[in-house]
């Protein structure tokens, strides 16, 4: 007997759950063969609002976790992704990647997660500093998470661009709302399933599919979003982000690289989504010596 094919429902990822879009709207992007990739959620500003609420709720717990534990969880994402390699490769092929490149893209994504997992409990030492000052103070600087970060994922890749942006953001203890690539959305939704299975607390990463242009405004003007990371190179979009973000002085970061390049990962991508806190701690003058730390 011929088996009836079970089609997958692609849903969005908010607060550790997989709801359908609040708007009830869908779009049907086409794969490389001209066939529909499926009914993908066309998320609305209400989904943005719900995601920001979820991300804010998750922020305290995530940024407060021991750094080592964050590293373990990032490593776990890589493990689970490894276990689902075939699924990601076939989704990339449906979306137009060659078999060789699809395999390379998934491998690179896994390696990139491992790379940032390693940084989780190390960037503090590299980026932190003890500063020489002229008074009797112990003056030191530590990096802190920025908070809730909006991400406009690169539109030209389905998986590697998204992973390359999300990994450094969550490694730094931030939570995020990701607007996936509109034309290549499949891996974003499947990656959400990976996150959901890898001890990442709900709300740390929220992934929405749909029209980036439509969703950018409510995201970049949202008073509860602390920064926006842009993975494209459209000057108009960048200008719009910079202008619209002034309502609460969001930090705008632009990361454009060839993500398929093994070297397109760096400590700087973590530090760009961190802030520095400097503390002045009074100290005594011991034995007449001006102690200098």
């Amino acid at each position: 007997m011929e088996r009836v094919e079970v089609l997958k429902t692609y849903k969005i990822y908010i607060g550790g759950k997989f709801p359908r879009t609040e708007s009830g709207r869908y779009y049907t992007p086409q794969g490389a063969d001209g066939k529909s990739l499926g009914n993908i959620c066309l998320s609305s500003r209400k989904d943005i609002r719900n995601s920001v609420v979820a991300a804010r709720k998750a922020f305290g717990g995530w940024s407060g976790r021991p750094a080592f534990n964050r590293g373990q969880i990032l490593y776990r994402i890589a493990e689970i992704l490894e276990g689902r390699r075939p699924q990601f490769i076939s989704e990339l092929i449906i979306q137009g990647q060659s078999a060789v490149n699809a395999e390379k893209e998934v491998d690179l994504s896994i390696d990139r997660l491992i790379y940032y997992a390693g940084w989780c409990d190390k960037y503090q030492q590299i980026l932190g500093a003890v500063n020489p000052v002229a008074s009797s103070h112990f003056n030191f600087t530590v990096p802190e998470s920025m908070g809730v970060i909006g991400v406009l994922a690169p539109v030209e890749t389905s998986l590697i661009g998204l992973v390359s942006l999300v990994a450094p953001i969550i490694a730094g203890g931030n939570t995020c709302i990701v607007l996936a690539s509109e034309s290549l959305p499949l891996c974003a939704v499947t990656f959400a399933e990976v996150l959901n299975a890898s001890d990442v607390p709900g709300g740390v990463v929220n992934i929405l599919t749909g029209n980036q242009e439509e969703m950018t405004k409510p995201l970049v003007t949202h008073m509860d979003v602390n920064a926006v990371v842009y993975g494209g190179d459209d000057e108009k979009v960048l200008t719009f982000l910079n202008e619209s973000s002034v309502v609460n002085l969001k930090r705008i970061r632009q990361f454009t690289k060839n993500w398929m390049n093994a070297g397109s990962q760096s400590l700087k991508m973590i530090s760009d989504c961190l802030e520095s806190k400097t503390t002045w701690h009074p100290i005594e003058n011991i034995g007449g010596a001006n102690s200098s730390y």
Binding site: I48, R49, R56, P218, T221, H222, M223, D224, V247, N248
Partner: protein, 308 residues
């Protein structure tokens, strides 16, 4: 029973024959209130109305005069960057904090409500409850939020509950009496209806769902049952009674659903803070954030709103 209430001269019904409540029907009706489409302009009006109906509440063992003063400041200055906002209706505190609160808000048209009668359990002798209430009134409370004796009610001693409410009403004087049923402990909607009837016939000016200390608190099913009791009481006696859902109403959407329900069950007459209140504390900021969203077109952050 069939006794006459001395003050109001209406015949008190037999409470063991209070109407039974159709639970499935209530749920069906309540779900419809949640599906009304509310257009932007009406929404803003509704949000402001809800803001004006709030009893801003702090009822904690750790309350201090400074904490109460801070809350009163919030009651007076909800969000000063927005011109023309209403104030909340009242602040709700323990009897020991009434004087502090009264001094803070008396010039601003904000009332002071005090819980009493051994709130929240109500497990104290009548004399203690009367003294508790009298103290709150003497300290300047405009409104008294009393709790009923749920243990007695559940044992079927309806006369006891009735007489207790009447006695408290006596010492309230000019202060309006809100009777808290603590519906989370009454278990069934039939009990909620019966307790509502007892409270109203015994002299309540307001009936209130919960203390906020027990879950579930003000569910829409419970509020709907109490609104129906209020409507029937008005039809039977001509006396208007107020309603105060308290506990669990923490966001604007729920508040708007409640307003829709009040309008459709009781009518416009009840849509003022004279007859309808929300007992809440976190609701105020959510309403303010929604109002500012409508004003600026931008989603808001709690970072920019005062903690009450």
């Amino acid at each position: 029973m069939n006794k006459k209430n001395e003050r109001n001269q209406y015949v008190v019904p037999n409470f063991s024959k209070s109407p039974a409540v159709d639970k499935v029907g209530v749920e069906e009706r309540v779900s419809r209130f949640q599906k009304r489409s509310i257009k932007n302009e009406s929404k803003v009006q509704g949000l402001k109305m809800a803001l004006n109906m709030i009893d801003l509440t702090t009822l904690e063992g750790k309350d201090t005069p400074r904490k109460v003063k801070q809350m009163c400041y919030k009651a007076k200055h909800l969000h000063d960057v927005y011109n023309g906002l209403p104030t909340v209706a009242a602040v709700c505190v323990y009897p020991s904090m009434v004087r502090v609160a009264k001094d803070e808000v008396k010039d601003f048209g904000i009332k002071v409500a005090s819980v009493s009668t051994a709130f929240p359990s109500g497990q104290a002798p009548l004399k203690v409850k009367l003294d508790d209430t009298k103290y709150a009134v003497d300290q300047g409370a405009d409104e008294i939020d009393m709790v009923i004796s749920r243990g007695k009610f559940l044992s079927g001693e309806y006369d006891f509950v009735f007489d207790e409410i009447s006695a408290i009403k006596e010492v309230c004087g000019a202060a309006r009496l809100k009777v808290i049923l603590e519906t989370g402990e009454l278990v069934t909607l039939d009990n909620v209806r019966r307790a509502s009837d007892i409270a109203m016939y015994a002299g309540a000016d307001f009936i209130k769902t919960s203390t906020g200390k027990i879950q579930p608190a003000a569910t829409m099913q419970v509020t709907y049952t109490m609104l129906e009791a209020i409507r029937d009481f008005k039809n039977a006696t001509g006396i208007q009674i107020g309603m105060k859902p308290a506990g669990g109403i923490s966001n604007s959407k729920l508040a708007l659903h409640n307003l829709v329900m009040v309008k459709e069950v009781l009518g416009n007459e009840w849509l003022t803070n004279e007859w309808f209140r929300f007992g809440a504390s976190s609701l105020a900021n959510d309403l303010l954030m929604q109002i500012m969203k409508a004003e600026t077109g931008v989603y808001q952050s709690s970072d920019y709103f005062a903690i009450d």
